[in-house]
Symmetry: C2
Subunit: 252 residues, 2 copies
Amino acid sequence: MRLKLTIAYDGRPYNGWQSQVCGNTVQDFLNRALEEVAKQPLRVQGSGRTDTGVHAHAQTAHFDAPDELSMNPFNWVPALNTKLPATIRVMACEEVAADFHARFSAVGKIYRYDLCTDPVLPPLKAGLAWHLPRSLDPGVLSEALACFVGRHDFHAFAAYRGNETEDSDYIRTIHAADLKPLADGYQIEFHGDGFLYKMVRLLVGAAVKTAQGRYRLDDLTSLLDQPEGLPFGKSPLSAPADGLTLWEVIYR
Amino acid sequence: MRLKLTIAYDGRPYNGWQSQVCGNTVQDFLNRALEEVAKQPLRVQGSGRTDTGVHAHAQTAHFDAPDELSMNPFNWVPALNTKLPATIRVMACEEVAADFHARFSAVGKIYRYDLCTDPVLPPLKAGLAWHLPRSLDPGVLSEALACFVGRHDFHAFAAYRGNETEDSDYIRTIHAADLKPLADGYQIEFHGDGFLYKMVRLLVGAAVKTAQGRYRLDDLTSLLDQPEGLPFGKSPLSAPADGLTLWEVIYR
């Protein structure tokens, strides 16, 4: 039986999503919890990676539960949570079609990024927001974000991962990039059909630089639709992982 | 020059407020930061202790800055924050009268306590709320809290600290004990002229037990105004430190 997990995590204690030799990743903790419950090696397939320090409100993953376990899907939730640290929680578990794939069946993702503009970053926001106590023009920030909306070549907003090929595809569609005021700053929400490696943090970095008056909107738009990418050193600065949360993975 | 500090902290990494040999307390971190800035030993006096795992939105403390430093009070904020971990922040610093005392000049305190009633405690709430997924009657919870309001002998709601004397005073006045719904649970706010050791957690523990139907309101009120305290084993259960935040210390 193929099962889909919805997982929330605080990214601060972990070396990202993707399994590593160190073992301190969200995927590693989930795999170990599955193995403890099922008493056999089981592996989750996630919707995609999140970097060290990036949080998730609803990451998704699938795995194949052995039929002989005959466990109700909803029983996996407490069974896994008792084996997981409190900063990783399985929020839901449901049966899906045998051809469902957490990564390839996804048709979109929503990311949120929090900015804190208070003079002092409150202790409970440490690692959960980008602290920007200097002046930031929210009107310009909104304008900058609006530039990203649509179907574009985002090569300039992709970090080098090492597995790129000549025909790597950097075309993505951003459906929305909205700015919402918070009590102590702002929240940016991106909704797109998919995101390149570090793309959200590079978009946020460029938009913030513009809102701080260190880029013009023209500089920003000139970074879009650059099929050759950018010369080294021209790439926009990446926003820190702190404020970023994978909010939702969308399936049909 | 006597200075008053307003300090916020995430209680999770620390062994409470009060200085200890281990050195891992909020007061120890503040004393070390002061010493680094002033290049001489300085000590803060807090408004009162908070236990391991208890948070503060606006704890207060005072210290005497040596005159030869001639530092503007507001310059202490960034100077101390660069020496402190991100989970302890000095939010404000102001000059006060020479006879101001963080503890003895306080005329009241506000504490908040968060309950999470969602089936699964979200990872970002781990250590920040008491997880109560089982049914809880908010009407009864409000009624239970209302019983505490007024001037009472709270001997039954004080944990043994070891420095009690025959004439220890257990009379306190609670001005308000309010329940506010949150998206994922409830927040209790106590406003009183002062609180005994572990009193807030014992009040919350008793009120929750009543709201869960495991105490009657009569059982609860019978714990109030017991000048002799209670026989061992009759004391209400303490709520965990997780949900508790020292919200404000009130001065005239």
